[in-house]
C-alpha cells in the first residue's frame, strides 16, 4: 500500500474506467427502455445472456466469418424487440408501469429457462476472443478488450445521443416515456416506440454480451451476475440520461478497481462491495443520479 505510486494509481483508475465502459452498452440498453416507457427492466441481464448465446451460435456454429456472424447475431436479437412488445407489453400499454415492471421479472425468468433449454448449462466458447497481448500507452498497460469496449461504447453513446436529439422517433420516445396516453393522443405510435426501444436495448445488450464473454472466455449464465452491476450503474448515473448511463458504468468500474486494490487490507468481497458504497453516497447527494433530470414538481 505504502508504495502506491502515481503511475500505478493512474493505471488503476484508467483500467477501472475502461472496465466501466464494458458495462456501458448494457446500462444503455437498460436506460433506453426506462426512458421510453419508465419501465425498470428486470430482464436486462437475460437480454445480455441471450445475446451472448445467439452471438455464439452465429459466430461459432453458423457463419465462418466473424463479422458476418456478429451482424447476423445483431439482426436476430434485434427481432426480439418487436416480439416482446407484441407478445408481452402491448396489453399493458398506457397502464400503470408497475404492471409492466412485474412482467419483466417474469420475462427474465422465462428467457433464462429458454436459454438453458436451447444452449444447456455447460459454458460455451466465447464468440469473440480478444488478443491476450495488452495495449501499452506510455507507462500505462491496458487489457485489449477494454480498449475495444471503450471504442464501442463511445460509438453507441454518440449514436444514441444523436438519435434522441435529432430524430422524430427519438423525440417520440422521450415524450412517450413521460406520458404514453398523451403521446398517443398526439398521434405517436407508442407500440412502435416501445418495440424500437426494446430492439435497441437487445442489440446493445448483445454487444455487451460479446464483450463480457470475451473477458471471461466463455458464455454461461454466470454472465447474469455481472449484469446485476448494471442496475446499480444505471441508477447512480441517472435513469433517464444517456451520459448518466456511461458515467454510472464508469463509476462502478473505477469502484471495482479501487475496491480490488483495497481488498487485501479490508477483507474479501470488498471489490464488489465498494462500488455499492460509492453508489450509496452518490444517491444521498443526488437522489436523481449523477446526470438524471430532476422531476419538475410544481404545486
Amino acid at each position: 500500500m505504502a508504495t502506491l505510486d502515481l503511475i500505478t494509481l493512474t493505471q488503476i483508475l484508467i483500467a477501472g474506467a475502461l472496465t466501466g465502459t464494458l458495462y456501458a452498452p448494457l446500462t444503455l440498453g437498460f436506460n433506453i427502455i426506462y426512458r421510453s416507457s419508465r419501465v425498470v427492466n428486470f430482464a436486462q441481464g437475460e437480454l445480455l445472456l441471450i445475446g451472448a448465446y445467439v452471438a455464439y451460435t452465429f459466430t461459432v456454429l453458423v457463419a465462418s466469418n466473424l463479422i458476418i456472424g456478429l451482424m447476423l447475431a445483431i439482426i436476430a436479437t434485434g427481432l426480439v424487440g418487436p416480439l416482446i412488445e407484441r407478445a408481452v407489453l402491448r396489453p399493458l400499454l398506457a397502464r400503470p408501469v408497475f404492471a409492466a415492471i412485474l412482467v419483466t421479472i417474469g420475462l427474465g425468468i422465462s428467457l433464462q429457462g429458454t436459454s438453458q433449454l436451447i444452449w444447456g448449462v455447460t459454458p460455451l466458447a466465447a464468440p469473440v476472443s480478444f488478443p491476450a497481448e495488452p495495449i501499452r500507452i506510455g507507462p500505462i498497460i491496458l487489457p485489449s478488450v477494454s480498449v475495444y469496449s471503450a471504442l464501442v461504447s463511445t460509438i453507441l453513446v454518440s449514436v444514441l445521443l444523436l438519435f434522441y436529439q435529432k430524430t422524430k422517433l427519438g423525440l417520440s420516445m422521450r415524450a412517450a416515456g413521460e406520458d404514453q396516453a398523451l403521446a398517443m393522443a398526439l398521434g405517436v405510435n407508442v407500440r412502435t416506440v416501445i418495440a424500437t426501444a426494446w430492439t435497441i436495448s437487445a442489440v446493445s445488450s448483445t454487444v455487451a454480451g460479446v464483450l463480457l464473454s470475451g473477458v471471461f472466455g466463455f458464455v454461461s449464465y454466470y454472465l447474469l451476475f455481472v449484469a446485476l452491476r448494471v442496475y446499480v450503474a444505471a441508477i447512480v448515473g441517472g435513469l433517464d440520461s444517456v451520459g448518466g448511463a456511461i458515467l454510472g458504468s464508469i463509476l462502478i468500474g473505477v469502484g471495482e478497481s479501487i475496491g480490488g486494490l483495497l481488498e487485501p487490507s479490508v477483507g474479501p468481497g470488498f471489490r464488489d462491495a465498494f462500488p455499492l458504497l460509492l453508489a450509496l453516497i452518490v444517491m444521498m447527494i443526488r437522489p436523481y443520479g449523477l446526470l438524471g433530470t430532476e422531476r419538475i414538481e410544481r404545486i
Binding site: 413521460e178 404514453q180 396516453a181 393522443a185 419538475i296
Partner: protein, 255 residues
C-alpha cells in the same frame, strides 16, 4: 361530420358512466358540451379520441362516426391520424420537454410558426422546460400543440380550468380565431357555461351521463334552468335538471 349515436360508455369492469348519448358536431362549428362536475364531459371526449382505453374504459353500445367512418374504440394514435386531436383536461403537456420539443411531438407541421401566430407568448418561452410554464401558458402550449397537428376537429376539455378571468377571455378569443381562421371544428367541454356559450354555435347540456337539453347557443343561454344550474344565477335552490319536470320527458334523439 362527427356524430355520436346512442353511445354507452363503461369503465372497467361495469361502471356505466354515459348512457344513450347522441350528439353531432357539424363541420366548421363550435359545439359546447356543458355540465357540472362528474357529468361525463371528459368521458365523452376521451371516448371520441380513444384515450379512454388508457383508463380501461370503452364504448359498449352505439357508434361514433367521423366523416362516415366508425371510430369507436379505435386506438388513440389512429384517431389522431384521422384528424381528431384531443386537448386533455388539466393541461396535459410533456413537462420534462422544452416548449419547442412539445410542439414537435407527434403529428406536427414542420412549420411551427402557426403556433406562435395564435400564441405569441410561447415564442419567448420556446427553450424553457414546459413544466416551468404558468398554468395559462401550459394551456396555450397544449392547444398550440394540437393546432400544429392540423386537425379537422379539436376536442377541448375545460381549457378555462383554473385560469384567471382575463386569461380566459383572451384564450376564448383565440379559440374562436382557431375555429374561424384555422377552419377547425371544435367540440368544447366546459363548466364555464357563460364563456363557452359566448363562442359556441350550438350546445348540449349533460347531466349524470345523459343529455338533458340541446339547442342553439342563444337559446341555451336564455334558458332559465341553465342560468340557474350552470351559471349560478337564480335562487330557487334547485340544482339539477332532474328535478325539473319539463326535461324528464327529454326528447329522443333522431339519428
Amino acid at each position: 361530420m362527427l356524430r355520436l349515436t346512442n353511445i354507452e360508455i363503461t369503465y372497467d369492469p361495469f361502471i356505466v358512466v354515459i348512457r344513450g348519448l347522441s350528439l353531432q358536431v357539424p363541420r366548421g362549428q363550435i359545439v359546447a358540451l356543458l355540465g357540472s362536475n362528474g357529468a361525463g364531459k371528459s368521458t365523452t371526449l376521451k371516448s371520441i379520441s380513444g384515450v379512454i382505453a388508457a383508463e380501461r374504459g370503452r364504448v359498449t353500445r352505439g357508434t361514433i362516426e367521423f366523416e362516415g367512418e366508425r371510430i369507436d374504440n379505435l386506438s388513440a394514435d389512429k384517431v389522431a391520424k384521422l384528424g381528431i386531436l384531443h386537448v386533455m383536461e388539466g393541461r396535459r403537456i410533456f413537462r420534462e420537454l422544452t416548449v419547442l420539443e412539445n410542439l414537435k411531438v407527434g403529428l406536427s407541421d414542420d412549420d411551427i410558426s402557426t403556433a406562435f401566430d395564435f400564441f405569441p407568448r410561447l415564442k419567448e418561452l420556446k427553450d424553457l422546460r414546459a413544466g416551468y410554464l404558468s398554468g395559462g401558458e401550459q394551456q396555450m402550449l397544449a392547444i398550440a400543440r394540437a393546432l400544429l397537428g392540423r386537425p379537422k376537429v379539436m376536442l377541448l376539455d375545460e381549457p378555462s380550468l383554473g385560469l384567471a378571468p382575463s386569461i380566459i377571455n383572451e384564450l376564448f378569443k383565440t379559440i374562436r380565431r382557431i375555429n374561424e381562421e384555422g377552419n377547425i371544428t371544435i367540440l368544447l367541454a366546459e363548466q364555464n357555461a357563460i364563456k363557452a356559450l359566448e363562442i359556441a354555435d350550438y350546445a348540449y347540456v349533460l347531466e349524470n351521463g345523459r343529455i338533458m337539453l340541446d339547442g342553439q347557443s342563444q337559446d341555451i343561454m336564455r334558458n332559465r334552468d341553465v342560468q340557474e344550474f350552470l351559471m349560478g344565477l337564480g335562487e330557487s335552490g334547485r340544482k339539477s335538471f332532474r328535478e325539473v319536470k319539463a326535461y324528464k320527458r327529454r326528447k329522443r334523439w333522431l339519428s
